[in-house]
Each structure stands twice: as C-alpha cells, then as structure tokens.
C-alpha cells in the first residue's frame, strides 16, 4: 500500500527530503514497521530514524505510538521533540 511520509526540522535536513509517497509492504503497516522499512535505506536514514527517543511520529496529524496501524493513504510525519512557545 501507499502512504505519504513527511519530515520536519532537523530530520528533514538530515534526510534531505520534506515529503514523499512510498509503497510499503504489509510487514511495514505499523509506525514501527514503516520506520524499520525506511531505515533499511541505510546512510542518513539509518542514522536519523534509529533513536526512537528523539523521533516523534504523527499519523494523520495525531501523535501516534510505535504500534499504531497504518492504512492506505495515511499521512505519516516524523519529527524531533517539539520546541515551540
């Protein structure tokens, strides 16, 4: 299935991309599964997504846990802890 992935702030810079559509296997149909799938690209992907303590994930603009399921067309955003205010 296809999902849209977004990256913000330091993650966007590390990965050199803000958004892309990816086709993912059924084994990657959770937040954790998608993260591992992307880490297999190696290099910056492996480095940037390795530490879940500094990577937050939102699915369809709501904060999501590692075991949250993904559905076709979902918008999945990866970003560091927020620093607004």
């Amino acid at each position: 299935m296809k999902v849209k992935i977004l990256f913000f702030a330091s993650l966007r810079e590390q990965l050199g991309t803000a958004a892309e559509e990816v086709e993912i296997p059924n084994s990657a149909s959770t937040v954790a599964g998608l993260r591992l799938h992307l880490m297999k690209r190696g290099g910056a992907w492996q480095d940037a997504l390795a530490d879940m303590k500094v990577v937050r994930v939102a699915v369809n603009q709501d904060m999501a846990a590692a075991n949250a399921p993904l559905n076709p067309g979902d918008e999945v955003a990866f970003f560091p802890p927020v620093t607004g205010g």
Binding site: F8, A77, P80, V82, T83, G84, G85
Partner: protein
C-alpha cells in the same frame, strides 16, 4: 475563540479588547513570548499545528471557566525582541484566567508541532527540547480545577 498560526506580528491590546466584550468577564490573563538574544526560524506542521492547539484549548475549557480566548503563534524568521506567541484568556475571575493561560502555554511548548532553529554567529542549530518544559506540562495532571477557583 480565536486560534491563529501566522507569520505576521500581533498587537496585545487589540487582541485583549477583542475577547473582553462579554459582561460576565472580570479577568483577562495574557502571556506574550518574546525572542531572546538570538534570531531564529520557526518551522511548523501546517494542519497538525492548528488541531494540536485546538485540542489544548478544548482541554483548558473543560478544566476552567473560559469565556473567551485567543492563541496566536508565529512562524518564519524572527529577530531578537520579536513577539513569538500570545495566549490570552478571559474569565469571570482571575484564578481560572491565570490557570488556563499557563496550562495552554505549558502544553503549547510540549504538544504543538513547532521547531526553533537559532542563528548563532558560528552557525545555525536546532533547539533541543527541554526536560523542564515536559515537567511543567506534567504537573497539571495532579491539579484539580476546583482548587483553582478564585
């Protein structure tokens, strides 16, 4: 109720007047965040930012008497001394206005998807999230609103 994520600056007194029309209002508490020392660029997640602020505001309205409020958060390039964020809450009494205002600020800092990149003389760097901000948000979990009536 007004929630705005914008590049433009804002005027505190204009915004306070806007939320002070209801004759039941006896208190308006406001907070303005200002850029300290170093220029910065604020990035956000359009769409999620607004819905995250909405959720925080709804939680505040469930806990305290909020007759009206305004939340404005800026993004883009900001210079030292520039205003970043405004939260103003109108209520019948000061206890609810102060508490709701501080609650909203604490959760804006830890829940709303904004990221600050500071432009130092030796280069730009992303600001790290602070544990003290997490603790500030966490302490609200044990506070009963009924204890906070003025």
């Amino acid at each position: 109720m007004k929630i705005s994520v914008q590049q433009e600056d804002f005027d505190l007194s204009t915004e306070v007047i806007e939320i002070s029309g209801n004759p039941r209002i006896g208190a308006v508490a406001s907070f303005v965040g200002v850029v300290r020392e170093v220029a910065m660029t604020l990035e956000h997640y359009p769409g999620m930012t607004e819905s995250a602020i909405n959720s925080i505001v709804e939680e505040a309205r469930a806990k305290w008497q909020v007759l009206d409020l305004v939340v404005i958060h800026r993004y883009g390039d900001l210079e030292p001394g520039d205003q970043i964020v405004l939260v103003a809450v109108a209520s019948s009494h000061r206890g609810d206005a102060f508490a709701a205002c501080e609650f909203i600020m604490d959760f804006l800092k830890t829940q709303a998807p904004f990221w600050k990149k500071e432009h130092h003389p030796d280069g730009a760097r992303w600001v790290d999230a602070r544990d003290s901000d997490d603790r500030a948000a966490e302490r609200w979990r044990s506070i009963k609103p009924k204890l906070l009536k003025s």
